[in-house]
């Protein structure tokens, strides 16, 4: 096979677009300025298709596919913005809000939270599902950072950035379904972790107030995950 880039032609939201073989629908949509909401996807990390916010419709198939992991194919017809998809995306956000304790008004990340701003973007004004009100731990044992599981949406960005970029793999996921919990090392206090380098990458990529820097409490807590693609580029160049 030659190294020539194989070009695929497809349609996204009635627009003809061209893509390279192996590209995801999300990548191509973004190149063409077509907005698909995402939560677990982050430029610079591998994709896991965990949050399902990026679901899109493919003509001829009743199955919805996550745009962040589904790759393009020739002649594909993709819709990113139908009533059905909007309804599903709203319900996904409502499930996230109802599942744990997201009290935006007192959250360190309020104003800088991807869950909060997506709720606004998708027009959520209330949660139709009953809140579960679970009792969840807050791990403040690390000298600089806190993990507040009340705000975690289990996107696993922290797990991936720590394993893939920092190379420490402090974080992982324990339990199943509703009992899932992000844990440091073997479910030990973050502050007692011998593998954590205290680099803070997990804090910067966390879309909510689940991981935060203690020095930013009360000051608004903007997150800065935008260094990731550059870091990856520098590594590739070496």
């Amino acid at each position: 096979m030659s190294d020539a880039v194989e070009v695929k032609t497809l349609i996204i939201d009635e627009r003809p677009v061209s893509a390279r073989r192996g590209q995801t629908i999300l990548e191509v949509a973004r190149e063409y300025g077509i907005h698909i909401p995402t939560l677990c996807h982050l430029d610079g990390l591998s994709d896991v298709g965990a949050c399902r916010l990026c679901l899109v419709e493919i003509k001829g198939s009743s199955k919805l596919v996550p745009a962040c992991v589904a790759t393009v194919s020739e002649g594909m017809e993709v819709s990113t913005n139908t009533e059905r998809l909007l309804k599903i995306r709203r319900t996904i956000l409502e499930l996230l809000f109802a599942e744990r304790n997201h009290i935006c008004s007192v959250c360190v990340a309020s104003g800088h939270c991807e869950l909060q701003s997506l709720a606004q973007e998708l027009g959520l004004t209330h949660i139709r599902l009953p809140y579960r009100n679970p009792q969840l731990p807050v791990d403040a044992s690390h000298e600089r950072f806190t993990a507040d599981h009340n705000r975690c949406i289990l996107c696993t960005r922290c797990v991936r950035v720590c394993a893939e970029v920092e190379g420490a793999h402090v974080w992982d996921v324990m339990g199943r379904g509703i009992d899932c919990l992000i844990i440091s090392d073997l479910h030990e206090d973050w502050g007692a972790s011998t593998s954590c380098t205290s680099c803070g990458k997990c804090v910067e990529v966390c879309p909510t107030g689940a991981l935060f820097n203690k020095s930013k409490i009360g000051s608004g807590h903007p997150k800065d995950p935008y260094f990731l693609p550059f870091l990856n580029q520098m590594r590739d160049a070496r």
């Binding site: 935006c104 606004q120 209330h126 009792q135």
Partner: protein
């Protein structure tokens, strides 16, 4: 045109939404041309009257008394607005839900009290097991998130409701705003 009857209700909230409502300042005069405030912590009426056109409800439903009030408000009002995050989501009052009312009463009146340790049981209403947003008990017509919604949000929303104009609430405010 006769004026619309406006009521405001204070359940389990910090009164911040009412403060923000008052922050409309001189715009309150404009509003007073259009509505009569027939019931509110800000006016004298003791009983929630019948035939209210718009009821603004601040606060979550946390006690037996809140529950009684909200059912009456609903029965007596054409339009019920959940005003602010406590009414819309449960917000700060609902932070006791994971541990329950006994734990919170113990902390406040026993552990932290240096004298007269006792849990109040007369006059004050009984706390419900779970703090809930208003719409989990009664039908809500308009949701106005924000902690509190800004005076500008109040003004835009009330003018639209009074004049029967369309409203795009997510463009104005959000949870925690």
């Amino acid at each position: 045109m006769s004026k619309l009857k406006l009521a405001t209700v204070w359940l389990d909230g910090c009164s911040g939404c009412h403060m923000s409502f008052l922050d409309m300042d001189e715009r309150l005069l404009e509003l007073a041309e259009l509505v009569d405030v027939v019931y509110s912590p800000l006016v004298d009426a003791k009983e929630f009257p019948a035939g209210v056109d718009i009821a603004l409800v601040e606060g979550a439903v946390s006690s037996a008394d809140d529950e009684k009030k909200i059912r009456k408000v609903r029965a007596h009002s054409k339009m019920l607005v959940a005003m602010g995050d406590c009414a819309v989501t449960g917000n700060v009052p609902s932070m006791r839900n994971p541990i329950g009312p006994e734990a919170i009463l113990n902390r406040a009146y026993m552990e932290n009290a240096s004298a007269q340790q006792q849990i109040p049981c007369v006059v004050v209403p009984k706390l419900l097991k779970v703090v809930r947003p208003v719409h989990e008990l009664v039908t809500v017509d308009v949701f106005l998130p924000g902690c509190p919604p800004s005076a500008a949000t109040f003004h835009t929303v009330l003018m639209a409701l009074v004049n029967g104009e369309p409203l795009d609430i997510p463009a104005l405010t959000r949870f925690g705003a």
